[in-house]
Each structure stands twice: as C-alpha cells, then as structure tokens.
C-alpha cells in the first residue's frame, strides 16, 4: 500500500516533495526492520571486513599470492609467514587475502550478469504475456530441470576454466531464479490500479516498465541478489574444489581446501586448508544473514 502511494506521489511532478517524504519513511522503516535483526548487523560487519580484505589484499600481503619461498615449503605458521606456507612454498595468508578478491569478484560478477538476463527475461515474459511468455517460461523450465551444478560442469567443459568463464557460466545457470521472481512480481503489479492509471494517462509501455514496474522490483531483487552472491561464492568454491574453477596461479579458497584431499595435508598440515575453509563459511554465512535481514526489511509480513 505504502509502496503504491510512493509510486503515485512520485508520478506527479508537482508533488515531488510529498513523494520524497513517503519514500524516506518507507526506507527508514525498512532500515529499522533490518537493524532489528541482529544477525544481519553481525553479517554486515563481517562482510565489510572481508570486503576490505579483498580491496587491500596487496597492502595486507605485499609479497603477493604467487611468490614462492623455496626455503619454506609446507612451513607451519610463524617465522615470517603469518599462516605458514602451502605445499609449494606460497604464503597461505597472501593466498587467503587474494582469494577473497576471487570469491567476491565471482560472487558479485555472476549475480550482476544473472540479474541482467533474469530481469530482462522476467520483464518481457510478465509484461508481454501470450506466446512470448510461453516460450520464455519453457526455456526457463528447461534450465531449471537440470541442477545448476551439472549445467555449470557441462558449460565449463565446453569453454574451459578461467575466472571470466566461471562468472559467465554461473550466471548462465542461475538466471532463471531472478527471471521467475521478476515475472511473478510483474504479473501481480500490472493488474494494480496505478499501472492502469498510468496507461489511462497515456504513458507508454517502456516508460511504465522502467519507471513504474522496475522500482517496485528493487526490494525483492535485492533479496534474490544477496542470496545469489552467497550461492555463487559457494559454487565457485565447489568448482575450484573439483578442479574446474579458476586456474592455479590465481588463488581461490576452494582450490586451497582441495589440497586437503592429500592425506598428508589433511592429517598433519591443517594450516594449509583450514583458513580458506573458515573464510568460505564466514563469507557465505554473513551474506546469508544480510539476505535474511533484507528479506525482513523488504517484506514486513514474513515472520522469522
């Protein structure tokens, strides 16, 4: 109801101030609901630390993730290497810090691409209806009938593993979720009075899509996007674990956990894989908590 008021108020050029007021209170209310969920605050805090780690990776670990210290292979933590060195003598701390870059790049990149495809398909499908909707939804169903990871493995086999390919492939396998959400929202929104009102006044379809439908999608999409980031980070870690992710000189958390399949590392040299494992869990959890908080903020009716 309030969202609709806001959209109506924003339509009228002469009452922009009134619209601003409604919008602000809505946003503030959402912010309050977000803040009332304490885990979301913890998640935001942890995630911003990881984000800073990714940005300042080269400051935190000046020697870089690819520098090999031949004097210290498989060296336990300490003695110039904060977290020790891995099986070829690279600094674990440096690889963890630069791994954050890889994870966040893949997480955010894949979601941006997936949203671009999903929003376009969802808007077209929901607003055009008829045969466009039928065709697009059958394609969406087809993508959803094969588990994302299996699709991703097949695509990676085709295009070969690299950072960019991993991003594109994850996006290609996960866009149906956002397409579904957008289509559902559009279907309910387009029947509402404010859209009819806009049509009656003579607003054209592209304008209705961009300035009336799209703003109302931002809430649900932010939730989908946040969980998408967590999912993409998990998938990247899984792919690197299977040896199908980013290629070795680039560091990735999944790759480092993969080393634990070597029994010597699993049993005696845990410092090599444990930090990366902890980072994966921390990142995914914090993003999930932010997502839960956003869901509460966007949809006040959802309980727990």
């Amino acid at each position: 109801m309030q969202i609709r008021e806001c959209a109506l108020a924003k339509n009228k050029k002469n009452s922009v101030t009134a619209g601003e007021v409604v919008y602000k209170t809505n946003f503030q209310e959402a912010l309050e609901r977000f803040k009332s969920y304490r885990l979301a605050l913890v998640g935001s805090f942890v995630f911003s630390l990881i984000f800073l780690m990714a940005i300042f990776a080269n400051v935190l670990a000046p020697q870089g993730p690819e520098y090999i210290d031949f004097e210290a292979v498989r060296q336990p933590p300490g003695n110039g290497h904060l977290l020790g060195t891995d099986n070829v003598g690279r600094d674990v701390w440096a690889r963890v810090a630069f791994g954050a870059r890889t994870s966040l790049t893949v997480g955010v990149g894949a979601v941006v691409v997936a949203l671009a495809i999903g929003v376009t398909v969802g808007l077209l499908s929901g607003f055009m209806g008829k045969w466009v909707d039928t065709i697009l939804m059958r394609i969406t169903d087809a993508f959803m009938s094969v588990p994302a990871l299996i699709l991703i493995i097949i695509f990676i086999a085709i295009v070969g593993p690299s950072l960019l390919n991993v991003i594109l492939v994850i996006a290609l396998a996960t866009w149906p979720t956002s397409a579904r959400v957008v289509r559902g929202q559009v279907l309910t929104l387009r029947e509402q009075e404010f859209i009819t009102a806009a049509r009656v006044v003579g607003v054209r379809t592209p304008k209705i899509l961009t300035s009336h439908i799209f703003p109302n999608l931002l809430g649900p999409l932010s939730v989908v996007a946040t969980f998408g980031v967590a999912g993409a980070i998990l998938t990247e870690a899984g792919l690197s674990f299977l040896g199908l992710g980013v290629r070795p000189p680039i560091s990735s958390w999944g790759q480092m956990v993969n080393l634990a399949q070597e029994s010597q590392i699993l049993l005696a040299e845990q410092w090599i894989f444990l930090p990366s494992g902890i980072m994966i869990v921390l990142t995914v959890l914090s993003v999930n908590f932010i997502g839960d908080g956003l869901r509460k903020a966007v949809d006040p009716k959802s309980v727990r």
């Binding site: 009938s145 588990p147 994302a148 086999a157 967590a230």
Partner: protein, 377 residues
C-alpha cells in the same frame, strides 16, 4: 465474518496459555451462539461446493496437459545443451587424439576419423540423428568410458540412486522430527538450538562437511572407511552400507537443515489454526492433537519442499561423490565433461532432466491429492 472475528478475539489471546484455561475459553466460545452452528445439511452443502462432481475428470485432463508440457521441457533442455556443446570449439576427436598423435596423422586420416564419429555432418543433421536415436533408446557410444552410454549409465545411475534415496529417507526423517520438536518447544532453548544449527549448516559447503567427517570419523576415530564403495575382497551388503554412511550423512544433513525450517514454520502455523484449537477444546489429548491432526496437516506443504530440493540434492551428490570416490553420476559427469564426451554428457543430462521433471510432476500430484483445495496448474 463477524462471528469469525469474535472467535478470533476470544481464542487469540488464549493461544499460549495453559491447556485448561484454553479449553474453558474454547467452550465458552462454542456456547456463545454468535458462531454459526454447522448442521448436517449445511455441512453437505459445503462439501458439495468444495468437491464438484467433475473434479476427477478435471484432474485427469490437467494431468495429461502437465505430462505434455513436461515432455516439451525435456526436449527443450536436450536441444539447448546439444546446440551448446556442438557450437563450442573443439570436439571429441580433440580429446581422443593427443597433439602429437594428431601431428603424425595425415589430414585425410583425420577426416576419416571424424567421419567415423559422425562429426563431418552439419550440426542440424547431427542433432536429428542424435535425437532420433535417443528417442529409440540408443544413447550412443561413450568415447571416454569406451562403452555404450546406456550400459555405463546403468551401473552409475544405480550407485547414485542408492545414495540419494538413502539421503532422502534419512534427511526427511531428521528434518521433520527436529522441525516438529522445535515447533512444539517454541521459544525454548530447544527451539533456539534446533533452529540455529540449520542456519550454520547452510553456510558450510558440502565438501568442507565431507572433509570434516573424513577427518574426525574416518581418521581420528577410525570408525568408517574414508572413501570408495567396497573394501578389497568384500562385496557384502554390510560393507557397502559401511561405505555409504558418511556420504549419505553429508547429503542428509544438508537436506534436513532445509526441512527443519519449513517443518517448524508449517507446524507452528497449523498448531495456531482454528481446527486445532477446536480439537483441543473438545478435550482431545494434546498428544493426539499433535500427531493425528496437526502432523498430517503440517506435512502437506513439506511434500512440495522435498520435490523442490531434489535438484539441489543431485548437485550436492556431484561433489560428495567426488570427495568420497563414490562411483556415481557425479563422478561420471565430472570425468565426461573433462573428456568432452558429448554422448556421455548428454546421456547424463537425459537421465537427470527426466528424473527432475518427473519428480516435479509427482510432487504436484501428491500435493493435489493431499490437499484438495490445490488445483493442478
């Protein structure tokens, strides 16, 4: 409408009180004549409206339509993936021949090899040939496994099926039991503990969970084998079971973590609904109300959740199988994809897509039967 409001007002605040005051309030509410009393006549009238006589026919016709669209979805999936693989640079020959071997062969020899594999024909022709063969049950020859695709699939599908069915069974039992426990002990420490564990499991990737299991249970406790499907010289079922426990537990835990949340929410909703309050106010024991009335109603939405999570379980099996060196579809898919083995990859996709689509159909039907208000769409 007004009567319902009055009922809510009376029953609402008493929801969380002790059962004795609860029952008293319920009786008061029932005796208050503001509520419409259901006579036999009105009851049947409602029943007739809810179950029109054409319902059986309607169900059948929607079923036929749904099966039709499921087949379309499977065909679209196969087409998209075939085209994707065919348009990609490189083909099976590239992986069969090492660069050195290819350098020794004359262009004519290579062309001959390509013709042998049917790679010289244009993509639409290859697609038509492949599709007609697939529809007649012939999935082609796997270059990476050096055997017929359907033969290879038979062994591997079975291995994965054992794993997934066991995980489904264990996961559903764990998830539903703990979900109900959390709902019954709402807002106690039991609820908080049971409710927060799944949140943390959701953040732990399957391979880290698997490695943790291997480290603590296989290595530290030396209780269970760390991988593989059989010990040497031991083909007994008991041995297979031993090897299954760890991978199945990983998959089941991930599923149960999801189910606990849904079951708890669904159970709470039912426990606070009017028919449960009515049952309690009639004096039926709390245990009977929980297990005979609430449990059945709460299970209905969970059916669809299980169906929705099947693709996730299959995806989880890919990684879990790899960690535990379980010879299933996941291990096969990773190997076939690495070897650019198109017939094998397509065979796996056929099996997985059909399984997922059929499961979706079955869940929808089960849901419709369990809850007559739901219509097949």
């Amino acid at each position: 409408m007004i009567a319902i409001r009055a009922w809510e007002l009376l029953a609402g605040p008493s929801l969380r009180r002790s059962s004795s005051s609860f029952i008293r309030q319920g009786r008061d509410a029932l005796s208050a004549s503001s509520l419409p009393v259901a006579t036999t006549e009105s009851f049947y009238k409602i029943k007739l409206e809810l179950y029109p006589s054409s319902r059986g026919f309607e169900l059948l016709s929607t079923l036929v339509r749904r099966i039709g669209s499921s087949i379309v979805v499977i065909l679209v999936t196969l087409t998209l993936i075939f085209v994707g693989l065919a348009l990609a640079p490189g083909d099976e020959l590239d992986t069969l021949l090492t660069p050195e071997a290819a350098a020794q062969l004359s262009p004519e020899d290579i062309a001959e090899k390509r013709a042998e594999l049917g790679l010289d024909k244009p993509v639409p022709v290859r697609y038509a040939i492949w599709m007609s063969k697939t529809l007649s049950g012939d999935l082609g020859y796997s270059t990476s496994e050096d055997a017929n695709v359907s033969e290879v699939l038979k062994t591997y599908v079975g291995n994965t099926a054992i794993l997934i069915f066991a995980a489904l069974f264990l996961g559903v039992i764990l998830g539903v039991l703990f979900g109900i426990l959390a709902a019954l002990k709402e807002n106690t420490w039991i609820d908080y503990v049971v409710g927060s564990i799944p949140i943390f499991i959701a953040g732990v990737p399957g391979f880290i969970l698997s490695l943790g299991f291997i480290y603590f249970i296989s290595v530290k406790l030396n209780a269970l084998p760390a991988g593989g499907m059989h010990s040497l010289d031991d083909d007994s079922f008991l041995d297979l079971l031993k090897h299954m426990i760890l991978p199945v537990s990983v998959l089941a835990l991930v599923l149960a973590a999801q189910l606990v949340r849904y079951t708890r929410a669904s159970m709470l909703e039912v426990l606070n609904s009017e028919f449960i309050i009515a049952a309690k106010s009639k004096g039926i024991s709390s245990r009977r109300v929980t297990f005979n009335h609430a449990f059945k109603a709460a299970l209905v939405p969970i059916i669809s959740v299980i169906g929705l999570h099947l693709p996730e379980i299959i995806a989880g099996a890919v990684i879990t199988e790899t960690v535990f060196r379980w010879e299933g579809m996941g291990t096969l898919a990773v190997r076939a994809a690495g070897g650019r083995d198109v017939p094998m990859v397509m065979g796996i996709v056929v099996v997985v897509a059909i399984t997922v689509v059929i499961t979706n159909l079955i869940t929808d039907i089960a849901y419709t039967i369990a809850d007559p208000r739901v219509r097949l769409g």
